[in-house]
Structure formats: C-alpha cells, structure tokens
C-alpha cells in the first residue's frame, strides 16, 4: 500500500510503529502535489514542510497529529506562504500572520504542504471563479470538483493529501466533498476560530475539515475547535470531539424533508440518498418526515445577506497596504476603481454590487432587513424540527459533478447547487457530507445536519452509515 493511500489515522499509527516517518509521508505527498493533474495547488510549501517534518521526527514525544501532511484552502492566512483567496487582487501576497485554526493544527503536529485552489474569495460552487484556473474533479477531469473549496476536496480525493481544510459559507465544504466523493464537515458557527480566514460573509463563514473517512475528519476537527481570544464569535467548546465508534443507529430519529428528496434533485442523486436512508432503517434508526416551512426562502435570503456582508468585507482590498495595485494614478477614486476593477473577477463584482444595493439607503429594510427576519424564521424552523428528530438528512447537492463551463453563463443555476446546504448555514448548525454511492460513475453526497454542538452525534451517525455503505473513495483512473 502506498503511503498516499493511508488515511491520516493509519499514517499516525504507522509512524508510531516506526514503519514510516513524517518526512517520508510529506515527501510522498509532495510528489503527488508537484505532479498536479487537477490544478489543486496555488502554492507549495516544500522546503518548510520537509524541515518541519524532520523536526517532528526528531521529537522525543510526538504531537498528536504526528507530522501528517495537510493542505490548506487559500482563503486561510498563512505567514510567509502566499495566500491569494483565488483572487488576482492578492496575487503574490505573503501574509504577516497565520490563521488561528492553522496554527492550532501545526501545534498539534500537522504539516502544511500547500495552499489549495478555490473560487475567488470563496464565491462559487465549481472552482471556476478562481483567477488561477479551475481545479478539476479526479473522478472525471472534464467536470468541476465543486466549490468554493474545490482544490481542497479534489486534493483529498486525488490522494495528494490525506486531509485538508476548507471553508463553508453556504455549502463550500459540503458540496465539493459530495462532488469529489469524500467527507466534508461544516462545524457549528463559532466552533472554529475565523481569525485568519479571509472573510466572505462573516456571519456564515466556518472553517472545517475534508478527509476520506469520518474518523479522520473528527480527528482534524478535534484539534481546531474552541474559543479564540482573537475571534469574538468563537465559542467555548462544551465537550471534546471524540473519534466515532458507533456501528448501529438504534433509537436515532432521522428527519427527512420530502421537498429536498423530490423535484429539482437529479434521479441518480435521489436514488443514492434513498438507498442510504434505507440503511438508516436497517441499522435501527427511524425516518421521520419533517417540514421546514421557510427553508424554500433560504437561497434568496442567503443571496442578500452574504453579498451584503461581502460588500463590506472586500472593501479593504484597495491595493494601498498590500496586494496588487493598478498602475499609478493621481486621482484617489480612479485608483480605487482601477485596482478593484482589475483585481476582482466578475462573480465577485456581481456580489459586491448586489450587497451594496441591498444595504443602500431606502432599500436596506426591504432587502437586508427582510432577509435577516427570514433568517430568524429559518432558525426557528430548525429548532422546532430538532425537538422531534436527532439529525436531518438530505442530498448535499442536487446533482453530481457537472461539466466545466456548464453553468458559468447562468449564475442562478450555479447558485442552485447550494439549495440543500444553505438553510443549514443560515441557522449556523453543524452538518457534514458523506459519500453515499455513485450515479453514472460520479459520487453522490448525503448531508446530515444536527443542532448546535451536536458534532459528536453527527460523527457517530455518519460513521455507522459510512461503514454500512462501504463507499470506495478512490476515483478510477487516479494512479495509486
């Protein structure tokens, strides 16, 4: 078995048993990163990663993550390592500090080997909005890996790394996880510090893990959660994340929203999800039909709140203190217009304009204000649902991976990729996507969502289902 086939957990065991070293593991993965057929990496941290691996190998007491390599979405600030958020406006930008979650993982013994491709400023569902060209799906390189964390998902599926970090605002971890056939977790809002995550929509953004097993995802999250004095919205974490062991789902009540199993969902996706729900029952769980009356307004709500927040969050990119600056001009307004006009791609500009409009005097109440009110109703819908169920199940994405270019001309069809994931994001709840089968040879993801802080429960349920489904996360055609 190649070193790159190992899960993180297996790698840690192998290192502990002396069968391999961090340096060997990092080297093997760097090999695959540097022969990148999927355009997954925007920066490779070769020398620093190898040095760190040797350092960890020399430690008398290994840190818990033992020197296992990891890839980081380029939306996370990494000191001295180029960080662009997939945008031209941050071309060549080397941050002066490291994001808290990355620093915590490094302290726990993870070795950062590179930064992964993404939709510019995390705006997109296909990775095609990257200023550096799209990442490709290892299951079919004519198809998108999903987005916005497309590079992080594709890299894990292609075994360039055993695990990686992404960020999820409306589905940016779960949807690419589904399209690449891996596990992706969006934790409870506030579970992981956002300090150092280049903000898209502050009230929705969360950092989370990608991995090829539920246990690996739990292991990674374990070292990241908890309050950070640098992020006022981060939370004290009640109970430590534990690695899931459950094999049965006895007594577990799984809520199913019929609307999300019907129209607008591809038949192949529907069938794979149905099959997974049947497994729930065979493992001892019960299916409970539930309703989220306001969930259908989720997409519209999201596309007011997220652009509104992004219009302010992205205003700092003016080329004055850092980043790419347009050719000098004597006029301040012209400087802003040129720098931002040249630096941002079309989707980013579209959302900045949408958000600016939604916050404008005279429109605020009808758009942003109204969206916030609907968001409150959606939060209440979930609270009511979780009085009756333990976990909510639905497809993660209405479709399998679509072809490159298929939706770029029609933003609305692209936005619909996140129709199943967005309501959960608006409510700030934890959810994850696990692969539940194939449709025409392409992976289908099942989304599970729970009440706030229910990560351990979600991991247990996902772990039991994962074992029962027995999905093989190796894309055919990707060499071992």
């Amino acid at each position: 078995m190649a070193l790159t086939d190992l899960t993180a957990e297996q790698s840690i065991t192998a290192i502990a048993a002396g069968r391999t070293s961090s340096e060997d593991l990092v080297r093997a993965h760097l090999e695959r990163v540097e022969h990148d057929d999927w355009n997954n990496f925007l920066a490779v941290n070769r020398e620093a990663a190898l040095a760190r691996a040797r350092e960890i190998d020399a430690m008398p007491q290994r840190p818990p993550l033992a020197g296992v390599p990891i890839a980081i979405k380029d939306a996370l600030s990494t000191r001295d390592l180029t960080t662009t958020a997939g945008s031209r406006i941050l071309e060549g930008f080397r941050p002066i500090y490291t994001a808290t979650c990355v620093a915590r993982l490094e302290a726990a013994g993870a070795v950062v080997i590179g930064k992964t491709n993404m939709d510019e400023f995390a705006m997109g569902s296909s990775c095609e909005n990257s200023a550096y060209g799209p990442s490709l799906n290892p299951w079919d390189t004519t198809r998108v890996p999903g987005g916005s964390s497309g590079g992080s998902a594709s890299a894990v599926a292609a075994r360039q790394v055993p695990w990686s970090l992404g960020s999820d605002t409306g589905g940016s971890i779960r949807q690419p996880a589904a399209l690449c056939g891996i596990v992706g977790v969006k934790p409870t809002y506030g579970a992981v510090s956002r300090y150092g995550l280049i903000a898209f929509a502050s009230s929705l953004d969360q950092v989370g893990p990608f991995a090829r097993t539920v246990r690996d995802a739990a292991l990674l999250l374990q070292s990241m959660v908890g309050r950070d004095p640098m992020d006022a919205t981060s939370l004290d974490w009640p109970d430590p994340i534990v690695l899931p062991t459950a094999a049965r789902l006895d007594g577990v009540r799984v809520g199913v929203i019929e609307e999300l199993m019907g129209q607008g969902i591809e038949p192949g996706v529907r069938a794979a999800c149905r099959a997974a729900l049947n497994r729930v029952e065979s493992l001892g769980g019960t299916l409970v039909p539930i309703e989220l009356p306001h969930a259908s307004y989720g997409l519209a709500t999201y596309y007011l709140i997220a652009p509104a927040e992004c219009s302010a969050n992205l205003a700092r990119f003016d080329g004055i203190r850092y980043g790419r600056r347009a050719e000098a001009t004597d006029d301040l307004l012209e400087h802003y217009e040129r720098t931002r006009g040249e630096g941002f791609g079309p989707e980013v500009k579209r959302r900045i304009m949408l958000g600016t409009f939604a916050l404008s005097s005279g429109y605020y109440d009808a758009y942003y204000g109204q969206a916030q009110r609907v968001r409150t109703l959606i939060v209440r819908d979930f609270a009511a649902a979780f009085a009756e169920i333990d976990v909510l199940a639905s497809p993660t994405s209405p479709t399998v991976a679509f072809r490159l270019g298929e939706r770029t001309a029609d933003p609305l069809s692209m936005y619909l990729s996140d129709v199943c994931t967005i309501p959960v994001s608006l409510a700030g709840l934890p959810s994850l996507s696990i692969p539940c089968g194939l449709s025409d040879g392409l992976p289908v993801g099942l989304q599970l969502a729970g009440p706030a802080f229910s990560e351990n429960r979600l991991f247990d349920i996902a772990h039991a289902l994962e074992a029962a489904i027995g999905f093989d996360p190796s894309p055919p055609g990707v060499a071992a």
């Binding site: 002066i96 300090y195 640098m230």
Partner: protein, 485 residues
C-alpha cells in the same frame, strides 16, 4: 431684520479619545507622537482575515461617561459598520454604533453665572478613530500636496461620540457647556481632553430661525474647532453668514463646513447631495454588548463627586463666588489642592491665596501648586498666622516665597527669618511717635483731617520694621498719638 430678530439653534457633537491602554478592537498600545506605524497589527491594518475584539475598558469608560451625562445605559447595544472608502480607514468601514448606541438619552448639568443649566444629550456611542493622513508638500494641505502618507498609529483608537440636542443658543453658552463637559470627562479619567492634539474634537450643528418660530431652520455642520475660543468664533462667523444669506432672501444649503481658525474663513467640505450613503449594518464580527446590570450599577455607585456638584458645594458651603469656583475647579488637581487647604484654614481666604498669591509666585517657575514645595498644610499655616495677626501680610508673602523656594514649615521660617509681627506695644508706640516727630508737616495735615495720610505713616512704619508691624495696629496708634479723629 436685525440680528435680534433671529434665534440661533446649536447642537454639539463631541468626539473624545478614551484613555484606554490599548486600541478599541486590538491589542496595540495607544500612543501620541511615536514614530509612524509602530503601533499596528493585522487587525488595525485590516489585513485579510483579521477580526475585531471589543476592548472591555472602553465599554467601562463609556458606561461611566453615560452615568455622568445622565444617560440611560442600553441593555443591549450593537456595533455597526459605517462604509466608505478613504485611505485613513483601512477596512473601508468604520466600526461604530448606529441605531443601538451604548448610551441613550440623557441630560448634562452645567453651571453658568445665572445658575445651573441643563442640556439634553441625544446619545453617546463607541467607535474607532481613523488613521492619520499626512500631506507632504503644499503646506500640508490636501489640495496642494505632492503626496499623502498614512500613519496607522492613531487608527483604531477608541472614541466616544457624544451628541447633544439642539438646545444651545449662543456661542459662549456652547463654549461654557463644552468646557464643563470636557472637565467632567477629564475628571472621570475618560479622556485627556487635549483639544489641540485632537484627543477631543467638537463639531457644531448650527441653524437660525426667526424669533418665535418653532420649526428648525436648515442646519450646517461646522467642523474643526479645536479650542473653546475657536468654537465661539466659528459659531459667530457661521451665524453671521446664515443671517446674511437669509436677510438677502437666500436659502441655507445643508452642508458640512470647515472653519479655518487662522483666517476665520468658512469653506464647504461637502453638500447634502454629495453626502455618503454609509450603508450601516450590524457588525457581524462582534456580539451585541450586553453589560451586566450589577456592574452597570456598581459603576454608577462608584462615580466620584462630579465637577458641577463640587463647584456648587464650594459656592454653597464655602461661600465662594461663581468665578472662584470656576477658576479653582480646573484642573482637578487644583481643586483637590484647594480643598485640602480649605480643610485647615478659612475657605474664602484659602481660595484667595491659592488662586492669587500662590499661583502668581509659581507661574514664573512653571509649577502648579500641587507640584510645588508648598504643601496644602503649609499654605493653611501661613493663612492661619495671618488671620491670627501673628505675621503681617507682607511677611506672609515673604514666608510663602521662602517656602516656594526652599520648602520648610512656615512657623519655623517666620522664626528663622525674624518675620514675626512686632508684638511689643511700647516699641510700636515709640516708632509711631518718632515718625510723627520726624514728619511734622504731614502730622499737622493729618490732624486737620487729611485722613489719607494715615497710609503714609503706615507705609513709613512698615519700612522702619521691614514689614513686621501689623498695619492695622499701626494705623490705630497713628490716629491715637497724632490726636486725629
């Protein structure tokens, strides 16, 4: 119409930098005059991914200020983003408060010669200061500059913005209010109140209306008045300008104006049409501020005596004049010093000595009473010696001069320098008789009723005794011995 036909309506907005150790939303130290860009971090430089965290001390100071302004302290207040592009604002939004400020409506009491007045406070809210732009060349003015550079040291300094109701009607009244507001904030340690350095800044919203009218005229906002004098002058200039326009049949344009103290000129910064749409919305990176009510009440209970209450007490209990109280109350250390003297000596005399002789003597040395070698007890001792006629006034001044110079106990100084009043009655009589004998012409005139010659003889006697005689006793003896009325 004459100027008397118009009523002036003024509201003031004050920005006060708070005396916290660190900035509003990050851990960088507050500084003034340090090399540029030495107190910065990813947060106050708005690097990608950086997040604000609220400074708890700023919340505390805002609540203390709110109590002093008689404001309601909000159960829940919310930070909001105020969006606009400018190089001194690195995030391109200022974190401020909008529809839910930390301090709600209040009422500020201040003292004038006509007694206590009140001014409605609309609100007070927390926000962060912008960075400082420096314009190179072109005499430091933006319009003519060759280039501009940014110093982010100031960026992120906590500010309390206080907005008053439009209830002031004259420039002097506005200045009087602002002086006492400043005094109160400084007294409570909320701000250092340095208007020249810009740690406290005031803008005035000004309108005029015909006397008797109830609605408000169109207002203008006058900025950049960095002293009380400029505030008064600026208001006067703007009021004149508005009245002149209205009397010529014109209308006032709602705009933001800049007052140039040097020339007295008023220039337009921007009109209402050019006004920004700030697109305020709640700051998603920060939780609402919900201060613990017990804490809020503790802060109220711990409020020290306010300057106005102190001044009113001095007037009421010590019999000071409005002016005495005003002079002695500022700065607060002077008031403290005065109170310590007044505890040991008659307060009215204490007031005269502190604001008169003592400050005059110290002025040349560039010292303030509380920094000098004259302890409040020493000054009180000198006053007591004078009151009990143990030393004469000239001797007292000499003693004070000595203590200012060398320190020491006044009684010991009196003894050492032999400045004690001459108590020996026969000696005084001898001196007076000798003077009358030596100056027969004057003595005769005195007897004939030229009473002011008493002064002449007292003066001569003081000269003869090097000031150690009690002038009152000398005056009595002169009358007695000369046989004058």
């Amino acid at each position: 119409m004459s100027p008397d036909a118009w009523e002036v309506v003024i509201g003031i907005e004050i920005h006060a930098q708070l005396l916290t150790r660190t900035k509003m939303f990050c851990g960088c130290a507050l500084s003034f005059g340090d090399p540029p860009n030495t107190h910065t971090c990813p947060v106050c430089l708005a690097h990608p991914g950086a997040l604000p965290v609220v400074n708890r001390e700023a919340i505390r100071l805002a609540i203390v200020a709110g109590h002093a302004l008689g404001c309601e302290i909000a159960e829940c207040s919310v930070f909001a983003r105020k969006n606009y592009f400018y190089p001194d604002l690195p995030k391109a939004y200022q974190i401020s408060q909008y529809d839910q400020p930390i301090c709600g409506p209040g009422c500020f009491r201040y003292l004038t010669e006509d007694g206590e007045k009140t001014l409605g406070i609309t609100r007070a809210h927390l926000e962060e200061d912008a960075a400082k732009l420096l314009h190179l060349g072109g005499e430091g003015r933006r319009a003519n500059a060759e280039g501009s550079v940014v110093d982010f040291n100031r960026g992120g300094t906590p500010l309390l913005e206080i907005v008053t109701e439009p209830e002031l009607h004259t420039g002097p009244d506005a200045a009087s209010f602002l002086k006492q507001l400043r005094q109160t904030l400084v007294h409570l340690g909320i701000t250092d109140g340095n208007m020249e350095q810009g740690s406290m800044r005031a803008d005035a919203n000004i309108s005029v209306r015909p006397v008797g009218a109830t609605g408000l005229g169109t207002k203008t906002e006058l900025k950049n008045m960095n002293s009380f004098t400029y505030l008064e002058r600026g208001i006067a200039a703007e009021v004149d300008r508005q009245i002149a326009i209205l009397e010529a049949g014109g209308t006032i344009t709602q705009e933001t104006l800049h007052y140039e103290p040097g020339t007295g000129h008023i220039t337009s910064l921007r009109s209402k049409e050019e006004a920004h749409d700030y697109r305020y919305f709640p700051e998603p990176d920060l939780e609402p501020v919900v201060p613990d009510r017990t804490w809020v009440e503790e802060l109220r209970a711990a409020l020290p005596e306010l300057p106005i209450d102190r001044r009113e007490r001095w007037i009421r209990e010590y019999g000071l004049t409005f002016e005495d109280a005003e002079v002695l109350s500022e700065p607060v250390q002077l008031g403290d010093y005065f109170e310590q003297v007044a505890a040991l000596a008659p307060p009215k005399s204490a007031a005269n000595w502190v604001r008169g002789e003592l400050r005059a003597l110290l002025r040349d040395r560039g010292q303030e009473p509380w920094q000098s070698r004259v302890s409040p007890a020493a000054l009180a001792e000198i006053i007591t010696l004078v009151e009990s006629r143990e030393i004469s006034m000239p001797s007292a001044k000499a003693v004070l001069g000595h203590v200012v110079e060398h320190g020491g106990q006044p009684r010991e100084v009196v003894a050492a320098l032999g400045l004690g009043a001459i108590q020996d009655e026969p000696a005084l009589v001898a001196i007076v008789e000798q003077l009358l004998a030596d100056n027969p012409v004057q003595a005769q005139q005195l007897r004939e009723g030229k009473d002011k010659l008493i002064g002449f003889f007292v003066g001569q006697a003081m000269k003869a005794t090097q000031g150690r005689a009690d002038p009152a006793r000398i005056s009595e003896l002169v009358r007695e011995r000369a046989g004058a009325g």
